[in-house]
Amino acid sequence: MISLSGLNFRYTADGPPVLEDVRLRIAPGERVLVAGRNGAGKTTLSKILSGVIPHVEKGVVEGECLFRGRRVEDIPYPEMVKDIAILFQDFEAQIVSTSVGEELVFYPLNTGVPYGRAREEAARVLEEFGLAGFERRAIHELSGGEKQKIALLSLLTVAPSWLILDEPFTDIEPASRESILEALGRSSFRGGVVLFDQELAHYRLFDRLLILHDGRVLYDGDPGPAVSDKGLLDRAGLEAPGMLRVFPAGTTVDSVRAGYAFDEKAFAGLHRAEPPAERLIEVRNLSFGYKSSAAPVLNDISLEVGRGDFVAVVGPNGSGKTTLMKLLAGILKFREGDILCRGTSIRRRDLTGIVGYVYQNPDNQIFAATVEDEIAFILKMRKADAPVIEEKTRRIMDLLGLADKRGVDPFTLSKGDREKLACASILVAEPEIIILDEPTTGLDFPSVQELMALIERLNGQGRTVLMITHAMEVAAAYGRKVLALEGGRVLFFGEKRAFFADGNLLDRARVRRTELMDLSLNLNGRLLLGPDEFRACWTKR
């Protein structure tokens, strides 16, 4: 049993409280989902539950934290880590080896397990999670999602009693998230799981839901009633899952069929073909491989992107999405095939100012002393006039809710705000082609909406947007097209409605329909992509 009573926590004696009056008891084998928006206190709570605080990181702890009836501070940390395993939000920091096999044996070896048994445990875990044969893969050759999976699986090699997972699916493709949770249930792991997340998508797989808001427990109990309490979710800044996003609480499939009418005309309107756009980017027979790897990452890619297109780029981890986008942005150089921008090969064209690329990790972009300087940097590099710089910087800060942080050191911002800042510092220059690598990762629901509204507005002004995403709600709600990659080849490129209608394609791209899409098919077999389409097509009788 893990038990917290009257727990208050702050990082420094004069700092703001991060957790206040947290009371909870987690029973062995229990599966708990802890949800909350950016800054709710999730990461801090995960560290307290796992003993990282107070054993490794310090702070001011008041109240009591007991593990198996003993005060956590009295238990030697090496003893605790045999029983409680934690996956950090920054999972890459936890990877200390150069190959998958070595990474998987590191934890057991350091908890006293002999090498032979550690190897057996590693092989068993890989087998149970469908990754047999990964042992010899080099860590630096893995995609972000593959690394996150390996970081998670490495925890299971010590068969802990508790698994504390802090946002463990940020980089993992959608289809794998649920299958990992399901595999956890089927595997030899019999311990409890406490999973911290910003969304409620997988609430059905948990026994209990705990909602955190501003460091306090807003709800603790059965997930069912909470996910249908719109008021509670709004207060916590969480997105309601599934049906509740479009119908009142208590609505069932039968009551929708009985109480709502389906507007066929409005549905037909959704299928209106877009006029073909002027060709902006043309990829011809592009193949690419990294020098350090024998296997090619991209194979014979050909596609055309029109001016003003908004393309969601999806596909399994390691399918070549980021590589393709970096090639389109001129960041990586290719040998085989060609990429044309406005009819000219990018081998002969400088794309600076034409393409804006937002990296997945905002910390690789940020460097300035203040938020305002960070955003203005790109405009200064282009020698824009001071009034223009000031006006554009101010406008984008207002749009993304960063205005009150203009003088703040960017590195003191929350992860969500740093993500928004990284986007703002590229989007402020209003590039003709905007490429975003998973821009919504780590953002809570309200922040996703703010950011996507801005991107949509820029797209409405004629900018072309290519966005890598694992968030199918985002891919479905924004943009018109989907580019799906599989094993370095184009699996699908076309209208997103056609993509989401084809179950076989979705399986191969390791993508799942959203709950709303499934609901729409369940209601009458007509595929609707998001809340707006539901509201347009299903009207109260």
């Binding site: 200390v96 080896s97 150069t98 190959s99 934890y107 350091n110 032979g116 460097f367 300035a368």
Partner: protein
């Protein structure tokens, strides 16, 4: 992209026990120091290239070829010019050097190249973890051996982060590869800040990351059963030591 050379190609050289590889490398280094005949060093260079082929690691050699050739040429020139001798000879128009300077420079350059190639071959067939385990099996304390392999791993991480930061700045119009030297130096400033902060943050989280996985300087990690000295290891070791002994004997013989 990897900045290191190890790739698990499963070659016979990869399969040796790390103790064999470490001991053979040390024996080879010692032998190279003792060899004082240019032709033998040249032969050893050719043999090392052959071993790269056997190790299926010619890619590592290709990556470093230009740098190694530059190093070889530079050391040759520097040794030629700095060699002191009583008698001077004209090398090319207007340039005189000591008699025997070019021969001596060739010997020293080859010695240096042999060492570089031997070191590169070792890194191409030995993973960081095996190097660390090999050191532990030789009696080096686990924390020290682990720190060595971790520092290499962190270099990989920092290099990859640095490359991403350069890319990110380039995309924003700050191209460090263009302009005057002063402009390039100024352009590097924005790159250093995220790199240093990334490094600091990583160091800050490193302790928590390691301890959360049970690492402690007091740990006695049991890697012994991962490796076993087989017949081929003993044979390779005997061969390396025999080669060293031969070189020392030949060097000691009066000429």
């Amino acid at each position: 992209m990897s900045v290191f050379f190890y790739r698990d190609s499963g070659s016979p050289l990869h399969g040796f026990d790390p103790r064999t590889k470490i001991a053979a490398l040390l024996a080879l280094f010692a032998a190279i120091v003792f060899i004082d005949r240019t032709v033998v060093l040249a032969g050893l260079l050719a043999a090392l290239v052959g071993l790269f082929t056997l190790a299926r690691s010619l890619g590592s050699l290709r990556r470093m070829a230009v740098l190694f050739l530059l190093i070889g040429a530079t050391t040759f020139v520097l040794w030629t010019l700095s060699y002191q001798g009583p008698e001077k000879v004209r090398l090319i128009a207007g340039l005189t050097v000591a008699r025997g300077a070019t021969g001596r420079a060739a010997l020293l350059s080859l010695r240096f190249l042999d060492m570089l190639l031997a070191g590169l071959l070792f890194l191409s067939v030995t993973s960081l973890e095996d190097l660390s385990a090999g050191l532990v099996l030789f009696g080096v304390p686990y924390p020290a051996a682990f720190a060595l392999s971790l520092s290499f791993r962190l270099v990989i991480v920092f290099a990859a982060t640095g490359a991403t930061i350069v890319e990110a700045q380039k995309v924003r119009g700050n191209d460090v590869e263009r302009g005057s030297l002063l402009r390039r130096i100024r352009a590097y400033a924005p790159l250093l800040i995220p790199l240093i902060l990334n490094g600091l943050r990583r160091v800050e989280t490193l302790r928590a990351a390691l301890e959360s996985k049970g690492f402690s300087p007091r740990n006695r990690v049991r890697v012994g059963e991962k490796f076993r000295m087989r017949r081929r290891d003993w044979l390779a070791l005997a061969g390396a030591l025999a080669f060293l002994a031969l070189v020392i004997i030949l060097r000691a013989e009066p000429r």
